[in-house]
Amino acid sequence: MLKEIRSAGVDGLMIIIGLIIVISVTFMAVFSEYIAPYDPITPVGGAVEPPSSKFIMGTDSIGRDVFSRVVFGSRTIMFVVLLSTAMSMLIGIPLGILSGYAGGLLDRALSLVMDSIYAFPGLILAIAIAAMLGPGVYNTAVSLAVVYIPTYFRMVRGQVLSLREQLFVEAARAIGARGSRIMFKYIFPNLIYIIAVVFSLNVADAILTEAGLSFLGLSVVSPTPDWGFDLKNGQRYFLSGIWWPVVFPGVMIILLALGFGFLGEGLNAIMGREER
């Protein structure tokens, strides 16, 4: 794998940059307590102090350290997005395999439902679900999970449709392997690479949707540190020149989405090349 990345030129470069960003933010999320200089939810300085050596990203409207909130905010967004992605995959992937392999009426019905959800504007669906479930990290994760189930379903199903016709599957069928065994022992391992690609691209999207939900005030409640939510709170003072409570969380959202985006793009390109 490492060799492939090195020989992949610009695509390899994208993968490496993506990985660096993703790993750094993950590190930040896991070790927030050791990285953040202050408590993210208690005021530690004056209101809206500009960045200085004491507060490298300044303080927000009630005097909390922006840098510490950015650090702990990585934990919130990573937790929500990864939890929701795990849920989407857990539902979308098996359904996709089943639908693609079994075909027939089940496939048609499932595809119709998934395509319909897929066609609906993702953020608006998430807004509706989040508004009904109420705020909180788990509820946000559920809202995002529903939105992204069809993404995994469609990709996996499409792949299974072509795998199903391959010789090794036919061979397995010929020696009398049962459907469930073929699906999970023969087909599933061949899906892992494409799942990795879809995962990266999809997480990039889910990050923006999570940030969007919390910007709209539907995700976490005060005082939880969260990039989208902090950006919303800073918006009121932003145009009067207090840029730091907005710029830093926003840059982090974009950076993290970009990290996963580069990773997915690079992996996708390498995969495309191998297929050719």
Binding site: P121, A204, G228, F238, G250, I254, G261, E265
Partner: protein, 337 residues
């Protein structure tokens, strides 16, 4: 032409299950998910009697299947219910007050994104494989990753505060609002020859459309690029080259036209992205469209309006994807089967 008619008929019939599924999804989200809408409206402290009364009024005391049938039956008649606050107006009337604003924003953003997308995609496709191509690829990923509220606020800061040339929010100067004809200010001000309003409306549109347009342009960069590369590998382009046509003439007269056809197919899904992005753009720029309206009503716990608005989105998306497919079938005869 018979096959085109048959295609239209099939496509229209296929839209029905899609609409049904989407409306069912909306119903499921609004009624079946845990969380009692009535308690959400009046709060935990309300008396049980009041809660029961409100449940009855909303029809929530009926069995679920009956609620479902009622809901669909009313929707077919175009009845989205009545708002629960402020004069209890019909939800559809409230939506229609805000829909033109969203339509105007999404259309303008679409134009911005398609112009930037075609330009960047064309450059990348022609210079395939080089540094320029790579930078366009990076552009498409970066553009899509720009978080709309953040990007919008940066544009507000640059053009609204530092350069002080464009308004940072709202849809028009209230004194300049044109006479209501279509609700689209650009069209209305042109129809009434009110150029002061036109300029003012365009000024207000500039930053929100740029924000949403630029963010979504990256997708078109990618689509135009791959589509153009595909078209350029075909025989008729080679024939053009063999006849000694200039590259620019091949590109604009033959290549681009054919390359844009597949992009049409994607427009239905792009439109969903536009609508979703519009919610964030509208809240950032206090643009009085559907998104701002939806968020305001969620805050006021106006349950029927929220449900009606989401259902309206569903119907609208289904309709747009139908229209896009029909246009596509008309433009590209290969699609009719």
């Amino acid at each position: 032409m018979a096959s085109l008619k048959a295609y239209i008929a099939t496509r229209v019939v296929l839209t029905v299950p899609m609409i049904l599924i989407l409306l069912t999804l909306v119903f499921f989200v609004m009624r079946v998910l845990p969380g009692n809408p009535v308690i959400a409206i009046v709060g935990m402290k309300a008396s049980p009697k009041y809660i029961a009364e409100l449940e009855h009024q909303l029809g929530l005391d009926k069995p679920l299947w009956q609620q479902y049938l009622d809901y669909l039956g009313k929707l077919i008649q175009g009845d989205l219910g009545t708002s629960m606050i402020w004069g209890r107006r019909p939800v559809i009337a409230e939506i229609m007050d805000h829909f033109p604003a969203t339509l105007e924003l999404t259309i303008c953003s679409f134009i911005v994104s398609i112009i930037i997308g075609i330009a960047t995609g064309m450059i990348a496709g022609v210079k395939k494989g080089g540094k320029v191509d790579f930078s366009m690829r990076v552009y498409s990923i970066v553009a899509y990753s720009l978080f709309i509220p953040w990007f919008g606020m940066m544009l507000q800061l640059i053009f609204g505060v530092w350069l002080n040339v464009l308004p940072v929010g709202g849809r028009i100067d209230p004194l300049l609002e044109p006479k209501h004809i279509t609700g689209l200010y650009i069209i209305d001000s042109i129809l009434t020859l009110n150029f002061k309003s036109l300029v003012n409306a365009l000024e207000h549109l500039a930053l929100p459309s740029l924000t949403l347009g630029i963010v979504l342009s990256g997708i078109y960069t990618r689509l135009v690029r791959s589509s153009l590369i595909e078209v350029f590998s075909q025989d008729f382009i080679r024939a053009c080259r063999a006849r000694g046509l200039k590259t620019s003439s091949i590109l604009f007269r033959h290549g681009l036209k054919n390359a844009l056809i597949p992009i049409l197919t994607m427009m239905g899904l792009q439109f969903a992205l536009l609508l979703a992005g519009a919610v964030l753009t509208e809240t950032t720029f206090s643009w009085p469209g559907m998104g701002t309206f939806l968020m305001e009503r969620i805050e006021y716990r106006d349950f029927t309006t929220v449900q009606g608005t989401i259902a309206f989105y569903a119907l609208f998306v289904a309709l747009v994807s139908l229209v896009v497919d029909l246009i596509y079938a008309y433009v590209d005869p290969r699609i009719r089967y």
